[in-house]
Symmetry: C3
Subunit: 408 residues, 3 copies
């Protein structure tokens, strides 16, 4: 029915816009939680990711991720986009949920997200040129190939692995690369000194909070659009589970961190919301409201413990990206085997295998890219650049030219 395709496609286009908007959310969150002297650098990385990411996804990513019939591990349907217009009229056979163009754009907006996660983790010390090369390879090749294993109909899809909207395929894929990157990159100067953990307060809590609220809004599209149609029951259930998990994640993280640190820590509250969102993403269409609250609440607790764990491992993750996207991404993927419609021991094992496969490709892929960059052009800025800020050295500008700065 043409009318139904029209509705479905409207919903998918809106979701595409919402996922696009998440890039502002990520940018705000990342600058908010870091120091003002590196603000332009982070903004620059984020607009690079979304622009270059879309071009790459158009050039080859889409056809790597959805190669059609393939061997289940890697396939490629050719460069560029091809219109599926049948004699100039609408191709109803392509899908009932969206047109070819919407399909491409929705998936293209997802593609760039994985790289954004890394952007936050490596903030304040990574060389811009090296980061840009990483983005080109990771978004252009690793993400779509990994994605094809499940969403492209590859071997993990055959096995019954379930990842509704990308707890693993997007968030963990970004999270593994973030983990590899901060390990190879080392901590910021002064972060771990004489056995103590240095505190580098973020320079704008309003931007950090706005970032999280924008990301939550974006998740309406991220999860809601992953239904791949406007099916009323599935889309609306998905929005309910998504929002309840976000709420539960935030509240749980707030309560747990207040108990541990005797302090109303807004960054924990914010990351708890994100943890809940990442956690529900793998099974947002399969959970009851109660399941969603539980998954989110556990994610909120995981965030508090995860951030402490990363610190204990002497890894420096300025925005908590590994705890939010990797650890909660794994949690959400496994939760599909524990809660909701698909819960079973077999499913849990399958989910575990899926997590393992993505760990393998992402760790290997990210390590190769970062390691080769490290031994060739280098991945870390000089000490002077780091101390004085990347904005001045890489961009020749101040993010806030008119404001006086505080001495720390």
């Amino acid at each position: 029915m043409e009318g139904l395709l029209t509705v479905n496609n409207v919903w998918m286009m809106i979701c595409t816009g919402l996922v696009f908007f998440m890039h502002l959310g990520f940018a705000f969150l990342e600058i908010g939680l870091t120091r003002q002297k590196n603000t332009i650098n982070i903004l620059f990385k984020n607009i690079f990711i979304i622009t270059m990411g879309l071009l790459l996804y158009c050039l080859l990513g889409f056809n790597l991720m959805y190669p059609g019939e393939f061997n289940g591990f890697i396939g490629f349907a050719g460069f560029g986009l091809s219109s599926p217009l049948v004699d100039g009229s609408l191709d109803l056979a392509y899908s009932e949920g969206y047109t070819y163009w919407t399909d491409f754009l929705f998936q293209g907006m997802f593609a760039a997200t994985a790289a954004t996660i890394v952007s936050g983790a490596v903030a304040e010390r990574m060389k811009l040129s090296a980061f840009m090369i990483f983005v080109i390879i990771y978004v252009g090749l690793v993400y779509p190939i990994a994605g094809s294993w499940k969403w492209g109909g590859g071997f993990l899809d055959e096995m019954g692995f379930y990842d509704f909207a990308g707890s693993t395929l997007v968030h963990s894929v970004g999270g593994w690369a973030a983990l590899v990157a901060i390990w190879l990159l080392g901590a910021r100067i002064g972060k771990f000194k004489d056995g103590k953990i240095g505190v580098f307060p973020g320079h704008s809590m309003p931007f950090a909070t706005a970032g999280v609220l924008i990301l939550w809004l974006g998740w309406f599209g991220f999860n809601g659009g992953s239904v791949l149609s406007a099916d009323p029951e599935l889309t609306s259930l998905t929005l309910v589970t998504t929002c309840l998990a976000a709420a539960a994640g935030g509240v749980a993280s707030f309560i747990f961190s207040t108990m541990m640190y005797k302090n109303y820590d807004i960054t924990m509250f914010l990351n708890g919301i994100l943890g809940g969102l990442v956690g529900i993403t793998a099974g947002a269409d399969q959970m009851s409201p109660t399941d969603a609250v539980l998954i989110g609440a556990i994610a909120g607790v995981i965030i508090v413990l995860g951030v402490a764990l990363i610190d204990k491992l002497r890894l420096d993750d300025p925005v908590g990206a590994v705890a939010v996207h990797l650890i909660c991404g794994i949690w959400g993927t496994l939760a599909v085997g524990i809660f909701g419609n698909l819960a079973s021991f077999d499913q849990f094992i399958t989910q575990l295998i899926g997590v393992g496969c993505y760990a393998a490709i992402c760790i290997v892929g990210a390590f190769l890219i970062f390691y080769i960059l490290k031994v060739t052009i280098g991945i870390r800025v000089s000490k002077v650049e780091e101390t004085e800020g990347l904005d001045q050295h890489e961009h020749g500008m101040d993010a806030y030219a008119d404001f006086g700065l505080r001495q720390h």
Copy 2:
């Protein structure tokens, strides 16, 4: 027809997202109009409200507000949500306008709004713990019970009271609590001193302005979604009246305040826009464009007078919440009896009765909560905390760690 439900539901989900986004609008507006030293505190309250509000509305609010058959004053359909799935397939009998899930989520986003209004009024001096307890009781119990009187099919609905999208049910419900709160709480140190009114300039006009524009956008969903379907004539007429009232409110407030104070005051312009929006909300689907312009313009003038009145009463409302949400909420509710399709003397009297009933439950409810909190755990921070800022004392952080501050 399944296709029409799908369209309607898409519209309602989008409106849900837009109402959710209003929480960023409120947060930006409130921090923009207050001092930087209390920024984190306000942001924290706002994310607490939306997260805890959703959980409470899921646990009991939804079933208190829409109890089904009840005595018209109070009813409860039980804890938690229940899926209306009929044998796993779509329940077309639930509504033609939206699914059960969308219904819950749209109303849940509304619920938290009332508390947000209070957040702005009590800013810069209220104890966070006391505020959080207030939110839990007011959003969890008072708002949904009061709401059931009209939207749940209660006695005011029977009487013919009309409140399309909540000039009274949302904005005045928040506004009355704000009024009670600032009366019990007292003014900020230095606000009224030696017969003079102290001026505490807001610390970020960009955030304040962004807040208002985001709220305006959110009102597309707040009013547009209150049609409870995507009916083309009603939804689009509603958007037109909403936008014209906002525009007229802003322009009227700007002209009137410029005449009174010989100054282009941006905060009056902004609050005038909000006043117009609150004013049109009760009858947005019943007005012609001309009615909307008149209602909005009057609301804009009311704002200027209302803010001056609150000051004259020695009440301290940092963001103008009482003038915007309470006074313009009452104005909008009464305007349904004066302008548009429903205008009649009888309707005006009915509207007046409705306003009175909500005044009663909200004043009593809010007074009981705040008074008990005041005599038990206390509702006001210490003088030192207030002077040095709630961010340092309640949250142990600065909102803008890297910036130098100006001495006032």
Copy 3:
């Protein structure tokens, strides 16, 4: 079919909301690229534009722009709006794509955009009162009359001139006025001194970046809504070409400016994105993905050259509005004759004629308004006001009251 009208209308209402949201994007972009001392002034202008613009468009603009049958040059269907309700029921004959109300509101949101473009160009030195009078005349009369020539079915429409979403009708119309304004207004104090070009760094790169990302999102509605229905193929193709042109514009501008200036300049990257968006706007529904990438990439290069050209002409355009909206607007309009479905020599000539006609009416109209204002009330603030900032002198306030400022 009523269902299809409902879907189409939902899409058009969403697009209307997105175009409205562009006003926050413009406001953020303009304040971000200018100095903090003029922030309130710019915000004030932007909220004046959207509120007064909507009221004017309701009063006369809509009926000037869409006069129905007319002589092709100027027509007027009468003051105010008139409901097309046929005996209280839905008028399916009005359009299958939207209701009368949606039609008005969507076009009304467009109307204000042209003036916003001027706001950025004249920032930091134009008298507020003069600017407001300009807005009233330009948005109230010039924009809708010029618009009627094409979108109202006027003589340029008859000739076959093509401008899908307003590269010329919106962006150049704003751009020509911006050019005239900055020529009559003169440069800011210190901009061109002793043969050197002064650099006035913008005061907030986060706001500038957020502005561009919000504008990009808004363009989903600006171009997507210009299909005037939710036609799945056309709307989704339009979103794809829009996003690819934005991405290509940004990347091209970044690469080209990095080669020229050996510096990762974020403002060039941002303006490149906008240039790509403006460039694709005239033919977004007529291009293939490859065409879109080429049009965007060329726009990105044009931005870098255009900004340099404006400087060389000793014109002072603080935000690059002329390069972005005028030059790329012309480029995009001509590109319809070079790329895509309509490409032909005849079409190119027609496009050129259209560009010329709009140049004529806009230059003449803007010149008359600004010149009369200049010789009567004056268009420029005093030297003291300009040096100390318009916020203090016109608004009696600081945009950031709590922050310490840096001495330049």
